[in-house]
Symmetry: C3
């Protein structure tokens, strides 16, 4: 594979020895430190000059057939593959390969400055080295840290605070939010919308005043089209290092811990509390006020209507312990096999 | 809790007596009508000077420990709590508290006028007192009522009609729509997109001309990232006072009645008809051409593939009467308990 | 029904004989070729001067009562309905009606030119006859074919390629993409966002460099608020003529074949491979690395965690062959009937 230069800049090439040094990696016997590496690629797609990853023994044949000029792997897998291709030997091959990916393909450098077609309120503060693209709107009292990038037509509403090194994607709408450093928001995301909280009234449903905020920790990343509502009273909180895939919906007053992985199209209802290191598969739904304990795992498409203990794995609708869900599935199949229905 | 002044204006303070008068509330014995109230807060979060809500006997301890200077409650709960904190006694404490929330935190006042970075077609009509923000685009023949607010980078396409006092959030796209008064649309919503209707053709699927509209009643509110398709022939219709959470998808020719509550990530397929006062939980799916009767309730994540009678509650996938769904869940658990599978 | 002229232009009127000629249709006995037809409408909604469709014998009564001046139907149904209303007799009535719909209601003609409030990078190439609306942003190196329409506030990022006759809706964000001809993208769609791929690292999850693209074939159409991530390494691929409803989420490295129908709120996880002519109902989820064979059918809300063979129909969560899923549902109902639980 050669990356498409219309979309991606590529640093390098780098000598294999320099890559090894940056990773703290060993070189396999006979590998030349002077070998020039130009890009990364998957085993199957690699062409000479590229470096690839072998971290899964199931890909042994792909590894042996790969045209990559060098391969990052673990010492243990290196013994299995027994190839003459130069190897970089590391403890954690996937992590090392990720680092090499960013070495060749760092985020594009900022082009500091404010595009003439952006609208910046005079009272907004914009940190040094920031890039504000065409059509972006930055409202009164907003405070952006250093080296922030506000994409085209993104809207930063009144009073929003961004830490240093944040990226807000095109057409995103950010309001009522205090956002940490190194937060990356993709396109068409909405942060700070009004929560879905109502009381019955003589004239139909009356929305409760939604006067809380969204607090986003450092290093959080969100995919496209996510929606994170602000708190009703009190705040919606996203912990440091938590990652969201696309189209995730977080209701008002939800609290999500640190380093969670929230897959696509998940919905978390109001006031749910999610511990640190929780992993959720796509399309999961979590009911309001539910507690999900630290490091729990929710299988894709689960409907969680009861609290989940720390470390527990659940699945199904309604969600039950994962093993129970699998047994249910098997039971139904067996029952059908036994009787004509 | 003190609301964050960067995001929310706060009216007041108000003497307790004035609040009582506006609510038609009674004051508990010994409560001073001169007591100044500065903001609202939840029982746990309140600090002196704030007024809170006690409407759920489960929060009795929180009520007793609350630092709030005054509490809104019902006469009945007032007897239970037996506190010396000044009380406002009303029939419907939650509704009263909602009113007080809007007293302290009314919607921010409009700043009438058209931002210089907005693009308004000369043939568009904009009602008196409206606010058009930076980057907003208002196309030919659009007609906006009085006191409308069009957020930054929102797009109002050709011919769209908005009633008085509408709010269209940032980055929303409105087309082919006739919208009533007091409608509040959050950010990144799409109203009026083409429906998913095709016929097979020798060259693959051919989209049917989508020449209907979206008709939105008075007082409707929609959360962020909703998508409401226009009718194919005829209209997609949303009744007065119906409320949508985030990321709801409404297909072409759906008819939704009045005062429904449509939670997050729900999808309603083409030509479904939903009666008045229907309540749907998050992630529900309703198949095309289904009828859901007045005041029916659909449990979160239900997959509704048969008509639902008025007043009925359903859940599950496929959805069945709610009690049957719960019994299924229990049955499966019991069957698993009895046999090794 | 008369289409709302605020939103839709209407060509015509056309004499019935000309419509017949364009369709290659026969006229029923006694039908006048000079009869002027002004618009299309459904059987129930038609008024005199309009042409309607009768393609479903269940609508026989509607057909007989219709006030339409002419009706398109098959020779076979023509015998059944035995009406004196003039008929256009064709082999495929639905397809013929679709063609007539586009005859009366063609896409609005482009208004070529660049709005003064658009921002076009000097290095971008814009094909002849294209229309670039207010607030649109077209970045460095982008190449648009002839007769493209870029809606208000849409963002075309660096290097993006569009074929001829593409439409990009308002507030959409397109990056890292090579898009074919006659592609129609609705509003607030995101194409080219970063995929959800991470490795664990000492500082929390580290996103893998996402250095692939999105390749979109000819004639693809996408509804509002879809999100299509670019490949991690290698590309995300959408085949010719595949149609997406609203709010579909396609993860990195997914490959979708030609002429698929992907309904609303579907999510397809990373590296899944979907064959040609696959049909998926709303809210389906497909797990990562799954293969779905040619012309398979996935029932609405299915959770697909195993490969699906070509031509197979599946449903349920987890998805099983469709007949098995229906038998499960019946079994559960029967078991509940037999025992008190």
């Amino acid at each position: 594979m050669v990356t498409d230069q219309r979309f991606f800049r590529r640093n390098g090439p780098y000598p294999l020895g320099e890559i090894a040094k940056r990773l703290g990696a060993g070189l396999s016997a006979g590998a030349s430190a002077e070998l020039m590496i130009e890009d990364i690629a998957a085993l199957d797609a690699a062409v000479p000059g590229e470096i690839s990853l072998f971290s899964d023994v199931k890909l042994l044949e792909s590894c042996r057939k790969s045209r990559a000029s060098a391969i990052i792997t673990s010492r243990k897998l290196a013994e299995v593959v027994a190839t003459e291709t130069p190897l970089l030997l590391v403890d954690d091959a996937r992590y090392a390969f990720a680092l090499v990916g960013h070495l060749f393909h760092p985020d594009p450098p900022l082009e500091p400055g404010v595009h003439k077609a952006a609208s910046i309120d005079p009272s907004a503060e914009i940190g040094e080295g920031s890039q504000i693209d065409a059509g972006a709107v930055i409202s009164a009292g907003a405070k952006l840290g250093a080296r922030c990038h506000i994409g085209p037509n993104a809207v930063i509403a009144r009073g929003v605070v961004l830490g240093d090194d944040c990226h807000i994607g095109s057409n995103s709408s950010i309001s009522h939010a205090v956002i940490g450093a190194r937060v990356r928001i993709a396109s068409n995301v909405v942060i700070g919308g009004p929560g879905f909280g109502f009381v019955a009234s003589p004239k139909g449903a009356l929305r409760l005043a939604q006067i809380g905020r969204v607090i986003v920790g450092d290093g959080v990343e969100m995919g496209s089209n996510c929606t994170i509502d602000r708190g009703a009273m009190g705040d919606t909180i996203i912990g440091n290092g938590t990652m969201f895939d696309n189209a995730v919906h977080i209701a008002h007053n939800v609290q999500i811990g640190r380093f969670c992985m929230i897959a696509g199209q998940i919905g978390i209802a109001g006031s749910a509390v999610i511990g640190d290191f929780v992993v959720m598969g796509g399309q999961v739904g979590v009911s309001d006020h539910i507690h999900v304990g630290r490091a729990a795992r929710l299988a894709a498409k689960s409907g969680v209507i009861k609290d989940v203990a720390a470390g527990e794995s659940v699945g199904g609708y309604p969600a039950v312990p994962l093993r129970q869900w699998h047994r249910q599935t098997i039971l139904l199949r067996k029952l059908l096999g036994k009787k004509e229905v």
